[in-house]
Amino acid sequence: MKLRTLRKVIFWLFVILYFITAPIITLHALGFVFDPVSKSLVKTGIISIATEPRQADIFLNEHFHDKTPAAISGLKPGFYRVKISRKGYQDWARELEVRQEEVSRIEHILLVSKELQLSKPFAYPLEAFLASDDDKYLFLIYSARNKITVLAYDVKKKKSFPVIELDTKEFQANSIEISSSIDEKRVLAGFQNGSQTNYAVSLISEDALPVFLSKLISEPISNVRFHPHDSEKLFYLSGNQIGLLDLKDRSNKINIVNSVISFEVIGDKIYCFDLNQNLFTVDLEGKRMVDLLPNPGLKKFLFGGDDFKPYLTFMTEKGTTFWLSEKGKLLMNRLPYFIDEDVKSIKLAPDAEQLVYWKGKELWLLDLQTAGKRDSFFEEGPQKKLIWRSDKRILFAQIIRQGSYVVAATNRTIELIEIKSLNEGFAPSWTIAEHWADDGLSIHLDEASGKMYWTGCYREERREACETDLFDPSLFSFSIKLKKPYRSPAQVSFS
């Protein structure tokens, strides 16, 4: 055959092949399959399932289909009973609707081990864990022999060293608040006993020498915060005055704002509550900027006549601020919006799109994406939803895996609660650990390593600190390191 003829034959062969395959592939791409029963093309849907760990069996209407991760295509529209099962793990089951031309994605499933694999990385019976802002360090609180010790645990190097020690003969303490400076070089610990707090600041290093602020400031102080740009400067509340202490020049103490009962340093602003419950901001030098809540009627409605002294504050990158008062009132935004009362505590998701708070035995979810955009009292508030109820008091909750799950601890169990794609009713939950009865149960979840650390009393025995692998972060394809929102110092109580 001549080259010219051969070329033409090949050309037309490919043209014919194209026109045969193009419609077939297009229809396949759109989800059409040939139904031999009706002898016609039917539109189908897909269920895409990914689990962690992988290689779990997928059952659709009790029939085994595949192992995870998998996408089961060619499914006729309708409801399917999906069960995921893996040896050694608790089953996951759900009724799922498959719609034509749509993919039902359930790619977030964390399977919970039937038997918890525990390790005890810390030799001491720790009282509590608190994490530094970027999770570089865990601050471990250890109490023994008339001493309360704060140890810094380098998560990467897996090495701990003491940074601050308090002699309980001199000062009794039953709770502690800890914060670290933005540069992660210094740690500030506030040991509380009733209304008195003894503050100490120290470098986070093995040979650190802590400085007790009571030795520098003779008056009782509270509300100590790092300067946002200089970790050697501290704001503190003494009486009703906000002072600024320079650790380089310890005699240098400046009063910057008067008549204040509480304050919070967020970004380059200091949010102050004064004696008359006015909320206003000052700059870092104490110059008054904005009165945020000038309306007395509104103030009365929001604060209800109580002294609104925020003890927990969050601020997201978008500027949304959450205030939780000592008496459990939860407010939101610069011009505060009332969310709920009797709130025990709150926790903002790292991506700042959701927030969980708990009150008694109830766990509530606040979807911040649904909040109105206007920054005023009359704006549409975020959608709040009761997502889970326990038979015990809730002590702690944290959103993990970009809004897919919440890990919640009661004073009996630690639970994994699935909140992704939650529609009606309570969220399904799986028990991770049981019998950790302890009012002072302290948990830290490190998303970067997939590890969960906690300390509590197992079956009411001696207090222990444990570590377990909750998930493998390398398998979490959507994992991104998010900048954490501002939060006021973390606080734990201990016996």
Binding site: R4, F11, L17, H28, A29, T44
Partner: protein, 561 residues
């Protein structure tokens, strides 16, 4: 006579501008169509991507098949004795018998041998001889009068501007050793007068070294700023050709018996090139209406350049292999040859166009009312790969070179204008040529973007509704499958590119081959930046009437070889 008018000579300015706008307009429309459809209806955009990717993979396989076919022909003619074949054209009946005997002998040899390298060589010879025999038989049947091959002269023009002396010497040395009778070889080194004293000195040196080697060595100096001319290679080559004509007229050598080759200054001919060219010239009845196109390979400095540069030029060689499989629409590219009288008849190369290599074909095509062809000759010519001071410089230089090649689209308005004014060329011929030219240039400017970038658009712009669709799930799977299948084509072309390569010099590490293979992973980036973007750039310039000027590509010879 239909004249081929460049944009400085146009008669109907509006019509010319319309034709100048068309290629860029189509390319931009294709790109904007993909973008707009995806932005407005992501599902429709995704279907468009699937259909295009499928089209692309079929087209890729089609092109790969043509590369394999053309390479097999190139390979089969590798050891052909073209001089002997030219001699055999003198006495066809006797030659037919001789060739048959040779074929029979090879056939017997083949029967004896099993699985050896020799067998491959003999198969190659066997197939080559059969092709030669069929041609001889055809010539006997047609009773074509074949001129004596000893009466055929060759004029080779090397337009040179600031070229390195070593590059020129290598080019002339390759002619010296090309197994063609040097007393029928006229070499013209065409310098630009504006190069100044340097050009004169180079000419002196060449006269000293090669003055007595060829039938005649001529150095010409093209004056700058001649009326109607632009500083382009075609102007210099035409000036040199006119000077060569003066010499031929003086020697009373009929121009019909002279083949003229216009080579880039770095072109090194392979042994047998001129014999092969003579053979192909002689066996065609309409030899005065033919251009001859060898396969350019870029081997002069292939082991010295960055792998991505080598990849680009291997791609160009493959492009020419593909084109050579379609002689009905083959257009001259880079170094090519034709009859001198034909060149004179069409008034030489265009003196104001950058793409003189392809423009000369279209000039002849229009002059001879469509009865003009380019014949592929299965012999390689080796040239240098463009290279800069460093990777970035090389990258920029390659970009500019590709843009210059893509500026070949400047032929489109001229060809269209010629077609509009011509009534004798059959409409079907006009349509197929216009379609092929547009299709080539539009796919050149758009494919890279569509393949490398646009597949992502539905995912980026699709939004929630698209993200939940079956199509959003199937698109990456189908595209992935298509690209995996396309990998077969990449492997085949990779194997052929290694088969074409000259032997690796001892000073070059084996790792060089590995880097070349690894560079294949940069293909999406190269497709976009060094293929599609320069072509789109050139078409946009033409569309906006911002005409390009000629820039000489600097090429470096292997220093260590």
């Amino acid at each position: 006579m239909i004249q081929f008018l460049s944009h400085t000579q146009n008669q109907n300015r509006i019509l010319r501008r319309v034709f100048e706008i068309i290629p860029g307009f189509i390319s931009w429309s294709v790109l904007l169509l993909f973008i707009t459809v995806t932005a407005v209806a992501p599902i429709a955009g995704a279907i468009l991507v699937v259909l295009f990717n499928l089209f692309w993979v079929f087209r890729l396989f089609y092109m790969t098949t043509l590369i394999v076919l053309s390479y097999s022909i190139l390979d089969q003619e590798r050891e052909a004795n073209w001089h002997e074949r030219c001699e055999e054209l003198m006495n066809l009946p006797e030659s037919e018998k001789k060739i048959k005997d040779r074929i029979n002998y090879l056939y017997q040899e083949l029967k004896k041998l099993r699985h050896s390298e020799n067998k491959i060589k003999i198969v190659r010879k066997f197939r080559s001889e059969r092709v030669h025999l069929s041609r001889v038989k055809r010539l006997i049947q047609s009773k074509l009068e074949i001129p004596d091959y000893r009466s055929v002269y060759h004029v080779v023009i090397f337009p040179a501007f600031h070229e390195d002396m070593r590059i020129l010497k290598d080019a002339l040395d390759s002619i010296k050793t090309a197994n063609y009778s040097l007393d029928r070889m006229i070499v013209v080194v065409a310098f630009e007068d504006r190069e100044g004293q340097g050009a004169k000195e180079k000419a002196e040196m060449l006269y000293k070294s090669y003055g007595n080697v060829f039938f005649h060595l001529l150095a010409t100096f093209h004056p700058a700023d001649l009326a109607g001319e632009k500083p382009v290679k075609g102007a210099n080559a035409s000036w040199a050709a006119k000077k060569a004509k003066e010499f031929l007229d003086e020697k009373k050598i009929p121009l019909q018996n002279v083949l003229i080759s216009c080579f880039d200054a770095d072109t090194c001919v392979t042994k047998g090139y001129f014999n092969s060219l003579t053979y192909h010239f002689l066996i065609h009845e309409d030899r005065m209406r033919l251009s001859f196109q060898p396969i350019p390979v870029y081997h002069n400095n292939v082991w010295e350049v960055p792998a991505f540069a080598r990849m680009m030029d291997t791609g160009s060689s493959f492009g020419q292999l593909i084109e050579s499989a379609d002689p009905d629409h083959l257009v001259t590219f880079s170094s090519h040859s034709m009859n001198f009288q034909t060149l004179v008849d069409v008034n030489y190369w265009p003196v104001d166009m950058i793409s003189d290599d392809s423009a000369i074909f279209w000039r002849c095509f229009l002059h001879f009312k469509g009865r003009y062809k380019t014949i592929p000759i299965n012999v390689t010519l080796s040239m240098s790969i463009i290279v800069g001071k460093n990777w970035l410089d090389t990258f920029i230089k390659i970009y500019k070179q590709r843009r210059r090649w893509a500026w070949g689209i400047e032929n489109f308005p001229m060809v269209m204008e010629g077609f509009v004014r011509d009534s004798e060329i059959p409409l079907s011929v006009k349509i197929t040529h216009v379609f092929k030219m547009l299709e080539n240039h539009v796919s050149w400017a758009t494919w890279g973007f569509i393949i490398s970038l646009f597949g992502w658009l539905p995912i980026i712009w699709g939004g929630r509704e698209y993200g939940l669709s079956v199509l959003s799930y199937n698109l990456p799977k189908i595209t992935g499958l298509i690209f995996h299948i396309a990998g077969i084509s990449v492997i085949v072309t990779l194997v052929i590119s290694f088969l074409i390569l000259p032997k690796r010099p001892s000073h070059v590490s084996r790792l060089k081959n590995l880097t070349f293979i690894l560079h294949c992973f940069l293909l999406p980036f190269i497709l976009t930046t060094l293929l599609a973007l320069p072509a789109l750039d050139a078409q946009t310039r033409l569309m906006l009437g911002r005409y390009m000027t000629f820039q000489v590509s600097s090429k470096v010879k292997n220093q260590k070889a």
